[in-house]
Symmetry: C2
Subunit: 348 residues, 2 copies
Amino acid sequence: MAYQPKASERTGGAGRSSMREVAELAGVAMSSVSRVLSGHPDVSPAMRERVMEAVERLGYQPDLLAQSLRRRATRTAGFVVGDISNPLLAEITQGAETALREAGYSMLLTNSENDPALDARHIRLLEQRRVDGLLLSLAAEDSPETLDVLRRSETPVVLIDRELGADIPASAVLSDHRAGMRAAVAHLLDLGHRRIGFIAGQPVRPSRERWLALREVHEERRLPAGYEVLEGALAPEHGRSATQRLLDGPEPPTAIVAGGNQLLVGALAELVQRGTTIGEGGLSLVSCDEISLTELFSPPIAVVRRDNRELGRHAARLLLRRLEGEEHPETVVLPTEFVPRASCAPPA
Amino acid sequence: MAYQPKASERTGGAGRSSMREVAELAGVAMSSVSRVLSGHPDVSPAMRERVMEAVERLGYQPDLLAQSLRRRATRTAGFVVGDISNPLLAEITQGAETALREAGYSMLLTNSENDPALDARHIRLLEQRRVDGLLLSLAAEDSPETLDVLRRSETPVVLIDRELGADIPASAVLSDHRAGMRAAVAHLLDLGHRRIGFIAGQPVRPSRERWLALREVHEERRLPAGYEVLEGALAPEHGRSATQRLLDGPEPPTAIVAGGNQLLVGALAELVQRGTTIGEGGLSLVSCDEISLTELFSPPIAVVRRDNRELGRHAARLLLRRLEGEEHPETVVLPTEFVPRASCAPPA
């Protein structure tokens, strides 16, 4: 816990006391004062009390600006991206880079190939590069290496659509996947669908929230859980094989929700190859996140969409707030929207 | 021109002479020797001759490794990307980032929003960040600001699919757009098309090479130039408006070539809205660069494709060669391939 001057102290200018005076009054070394004020963990409670008593008596006000300038000398932010070739992440990156650059920060980018082991390695790499802060689009939320690296880190962090334990103080930009998915599921149920297949990505926040939405809407309508969820890698291969398993199962779904644009690409490849009719008189289809394919496919594909560039800009802004002295992590939740299209129709 | 030791000198180890001895023999200051050997422009011919004479006589061998280590202290490469949300550039970025990271380099990324003024500003920004080298996917090849910045720069540069004047010594990774476009045009002419519309991006190398291919194939077949070329921004808006102009013109084309995936998205939006039949019995369509839409659209869309990740990896490798001491810029040309699909058929 770093020392927080009281509001009344912040206004002081003339007649300030120095760290040296604090050290003299407390009868300790300058370095001990510094350690107490910077929240260093290796400080005994007695030492802490002694120094803070002197700080109070002298009304000492640490120079927060100078401190923060010392702390962030490089004016670079690191961005650990799961897969930059995913249009979703490319758009988030674009938004973040623009907002950072406008604030005078440069962006170091690493690509984790959706591999949790690379996440941890890249965070360490970026810290060695002395980035001032980190934007993280992590491959996993429960990787012990990643959590360990983050627990030891003092670099301000903004999570993009991920949730970690409370022991890791991080800001976060979240999408309200649940609201969009609830609207999509309600639409499918209204059309008469009772067997929905959900092709989900890795078990991270977006998948979890969408699954919750699926369950909630069924429960609220007192409908049996006639849905099937297949989790896997956020890649076309999983989209394709999950579609095969769903359609070749004993009770194939009448509607499929693809939890991401790369899953949609795999699902569509399978459906096109089978000659499956989509929409009217066939299988209903919903995707998550708009890409050119969703609007231009025939029939156009219903989507749960969001503003990805805005997500990136918001993530950058939250990081900048931390770098400008805000001590407390913040969480922002951005909306999603369900757009019904001709790919959804009553079950055949 | 930096001093290049002869091969016979490179092998020496023991008994090496020092820069100090060179300075003493030439009767000049150490700093003058250093300026001559580093190719500093502010050196008189007389000074240069005096120093080089002493270098020759002593068989002095500058420590190239130490020099290059001094030169590249940050182990970062800057990447000026035109538009990271363009799937083509996202894939190139992915390839480059992986290759750089594997070599121990980090990547600083800036997004120029396809604006030549931002290109120049970002090159300057990255140089202030002391990047060791630059990968450039420039918005324009003839922007005076960009050319001026690059002329003054000593940072090794790799151009991605761009050509600048010979006064700017840069390595380059080029795609053989001409070969792929020649095959596409030949295919359309073989099918019987005599009016081809080409929707091109900015007048940079890819557009130029494709236009050349269009002209060459017509000339070789002694066919009249029955094609129309519309240049514009590499964005869906231009794809859409160019399609409108082509189809609403006095002699609408029977085949359209979209020179990039974002142009295709705009063109398809217009064609879908008009209900234009594509392929058999309608308009033929070719695009450049594969995206999920080209394979999954109905009918599938013929493309001139290339390996974008490989392009990025090659660009990184050329930069690494420069950073490892290779003095001379190199140019690599990578293949493109035409993939005919059902979007191409004889004219209706």
